[in-house]
């Protein structure tokens, strides 16, 4: 196939123009068309020892599905993808491929050559299948065993899908009114349309998985109670607890955690207020504190809500921004300003308890320490005020303690994560865990990988007991 490929460059994916997209919540990246996908697929070398597969936490047979695209057998490509990845339309959109499969693609190692656009191709196939009508894979005969999955984020959904395919009866308990975890409450519509999440969740229902929404485990049932009814339990409750800075003024009106801001906008559709009932404050000047994907998402939502000035305040420099480079570019294109090497000291308010600004201080990066990371230090005398009427704190999250607190015998680690071995087994027999609740905030695909590994371990456990 490689003989046909002349181009070393991947086709650029069409995007909505910044001047347009900053006024709407529609998807920014538009996906490859058939011609682009097939041409890109033909660039793949179909390596004998494909490193890309090793770069994928769920082990998608990447060269195979790419070959099937090149042969224009998209149905076969979809089957290949779905056999290892239950959420391809989601992964094709939000996975950081540039640090995973694409990072190790052999083509990317060649001079002046792009790695194969594996994410773009994955999205193409998943969207093709979704349009055509989703195929349901084979499900093994019922084993008579049952598993309760707590949390309908990527970890829980993946574990549930895998277990269902093995023939176990699976029930997911999700505390919110909608399944998807961060995919529905955190990641905005313009990066991941909620209809796509709903369609992939629907696929998991079609595998026979029962999803009980509005079910907060630890309240409506404890894990011990679930163990009375089910043969095993998988915990995929994520790292949903917002962290605050602990500085003055954080309880002023107009200060949001990124979680609250994003939940109002995405899950509750506050951008469509008053058509949808949940309100959100649309400030004229918004400050977002933090430099990760969550901060970018919050800033880009604020732009779309009509905030005239949106500024990211981050205490390290451009190179240290933990967000995906692509999202930083998108944010800049949409008009988000960056005040790097800047740290908030306190949030300023008026007599009515409303935010008026943020006092910040300039920072300097010192020499890297043993861990290799430069610690930012404050430069005294550089205190200054940035005016704002909305402040969004996007400095990270920690695991929700609700389940650990109500589950005797479940060991947790320092920051409240659940301790699990490489198979997902916890200190409590019959209880497995994976995703952000074990690792702390990570990625969609690593959570899915953990769900998949745990499903295998649960299957083995069920065979034993």
């Amino acid at each position: 196939m490689n003989t046909e490929s002349e181009s070393k460059i991947r086709p650029e994916m069409a995007k909505q123009l910044p001047s347009e997209r900053r006024y709407n919540f529609s998807e920014v990246a538009l996906g490859y068309n058939r011609g682009e996908a097939v041409a890109e697929a033909k660039r793949c070398l179909d390596c004998k020892k494909p490193l890309c597969i090793e770069g994928c936490p769920v082990g998608v047979d990447i060269p195979l599905f790419i070959r099937q695209i090149a042969e224009e057998d998209f149905d076969a490509a979809a089957r290949t993808l779905k056999s290892t990845n239950s959420l391809p339309a989601i992964c094709g959109r939000v996975c950081p491929q540039e640090t995973q499969c694409e990072a190790v693609c052999i083509l990317g190692k060649k001079k002046d050559s792009d790695p194969i656009a594996i994410g773009g191709l994955e999205r193409f196939v998943a969207d093709y299948e979704m349009k055509k009508g989703v195929m349901i894979p084979e499900i093994l005969e019922s084993t008579g065993r049952s598993v309760a999955v707590v949390g309908a984020g990527p970890a829980g959904l993946t574990a549930a899908a895998e277990l269902a395919k093995m023939g176990h009866a699976v029930t997911i308990f999700e505390s919110l009114h909608s399944a998807g975890g961060v995919l529905v409450y955190g990641i905005p519509e313009f990066r991941l349309p909620k209809a796509i999440v709903a369609a992939e969740v629907d696929f998991i229902r079609k595998l026979g998985v029962d999803i009980c929404l509005n079910s907060v485990i630890g309240k409506i049932d404890t894990v011990d109670e679930l163990l009375e009814e089910y043969d095993a339990v998988f915990l995929g409750t994520g790292a949903g607890l917002p962290l605050f800075l602990g500085i003055d003024g954080e309880n002023l009106n107009g200060v949001y955690s990124a979680n609250e801001f994003l939940t109002r906008v995405n899950l509750m559709k506050a951008y469509l207020f008053p058509e949808f009932d949940t309100p959100i404050k649309k400030g004229s000047r918004t400050i977002v504190v933090g430099g990760g994907n969550v901060a970018m998402d919050a800033a880009r939502c604020a732009i779309r809500l009509g905030s005239e000035e949106v500024t990211i305040v981050y205490r390290r420099g451009e190179d240290e921004l933990p967000a995906r480079a692509e999202e930083v570019v998108n944010a800049k294109e949409e008009g988000v300003r960056f005040r790097l090497l800047t740290n908030p000291i306190r949030i300023l308010g008026d007599e009515n308890n409303w935010v008026t600004g943020m006092e910040c201080i300039n920072m300097e990066l010192c020499e890297p320490d043993e861990s290799g990371r430069c610690r930012p230090v404050a430069l005294s005398g550089t205190e200054h005020n940035i005016p704002a009427d909305i402040a969004i704190i996007a400095i990270g999250t920690s695991p929700n303690p609700l389940v650990p607190m109500t589950t005797p015998g479940l060991e947790t680690a320092r920051y409240g994560t659940i301790v699990a071995d490489e198979t997902g087994a916890t200190s409590k027999p019959g209880v497995f865990a994976g995703g952000d609740i074990v690792t702390g905030s990570a990625t969609v695909i690593s959570a899915m990988g953990a769900g998949k590994v745990a499903a295998r371990a649960i299957d083995e456990y069920l065979g034993r007991v």
Binding site: S175, L176, H177, Y185, C212, L213, N214, S215, V216, K219, I220, D221, G240, L241, P242, F244, E250, N251, N253, G254, Y256, S257, N259, E260, T263, R264, M268, K269, F273, P274, E275, F276, D277, T278, P279, K281, N352, N353, N400, P401, L402
Partner: protein, 277 residues
């Protein structure tokens, strides 16, 4: 899966009682806990206290005041209708122990959440002195149920149309000074508008009586995930949905609570406009 409305009626003007089939919630509910409901796909998530629950019949009772868009829409629903989402029971249950003599104060719709607490305290062997108050006699409800749940019941109305003419705080003060019929007051629980709870707290403070209030900040998820519900208690930020809703009345920053409750006033007015004729 949605939740069927089994009954609904107007208790007193602007205050409604709704019975909902929610067997799993009813089985676990305890006094002091609440649910978060969302009426339909377009709805907001709002918290309402579980005013009563019956594990046998699988029902929960909510009592709400019609004040904005969501409670107005809720009031327009009828038995046989349904609510898309009901999540609960949420929040920490009320501490029910044998304290001795406990004063339970319910102001306005606060009578609804105080009822299951008073009932549980009484069956735990406490002498329960309840005080229920409202602006006027015509909007006072559940006098009969509160009577049953209490050892002694006092009524106050702001306009003097029933019971003591004045505020609940005056009765609390009087009881603390004279100790009711039995002497010592061991604990006070007050639920109602923030101004009332603040007033009760300042009355009990000089007597050094442990006082508990149930806070009602704006909430979204109700599981500790967003921080919308943050309140300041003893100088520390707490999430009312998971750390509360009940807190030490003498430690709460009521000014902050009230200013945060007013955060969306312009938006709430806007949401209500289509409903006003």
């Amino acid at each position: 899966m949605s939740f069927t409305i089994l009954k609904k009626h107007e208790l007193v003007p602007t205050v409604y009682l709704m019975g909902i089939a929610a067997p799993r919630v009813a089985k676990k509910a305890m006094p002091g806990q609440f649910v978060i409901l969302r009426i339909d796909e377009h709805g907001e998530r709002i918290p309402l206290t579980i005013a009563d629950f019956d594990a046998q019949t699988g029902t929960i009772t909510l009592i709400f005041q019609k004040i904005g868009k969501t409670t107005r829409q809720l009031a327009s629903l009828a038995a046989g209708g349904s609510i898309a989402d009901v999540a609960g029971p949420l929040g920490k249950p009320s501490v029910i122990e044998k304290f001795g003599t406990v004063i339970c104060v319910g102001g306005g719709v606060g009578i609804a959440p105080i009822f299951p607490i008073a009932r549980a305290l009484k069956s735990a062997g406490n002498r329960v002195i309840s005080i229920i108050g409202a602006r006027s006699a015509d909007i006072l409800f559940w006098e009969d149920r509160m009577n049953e749940a209490s050892s002694e019941l006092h009524i106050t109305t702001d306009d003097g149309t029933k019971g003591h003419h004045g505020f609940v705080t005056e009765v609390v003060q009087n009881l603390l000074e004279h100790g009711g019929h039995s002497g010592q007051i061991d604990r006070v629980i007050a639920i109602g508008p923030p101004v009332m709870m603040r007033a009760v707290a300042s009355v009990t403070k000089p007597f050094g009586v442990k006082t508990v209030v149930s806070l009602n900040p704006i909430m979204v998820d109700g599981t500790g995930m967003c921080g919308a519900c943050r309140v300041l208690v003893g100088g520390e930020t707490k999430f009312a949905c998971v750390d509360g809703p009940e807190f030490d009345a003498h430690e709460v920053d009521y000014t902050l609570l009230m200013s945060r409750l007013a955060m969306y006033l312009p938006e709430e007015k806007e949401a209500l406009e289509p409903y006003e004729h």
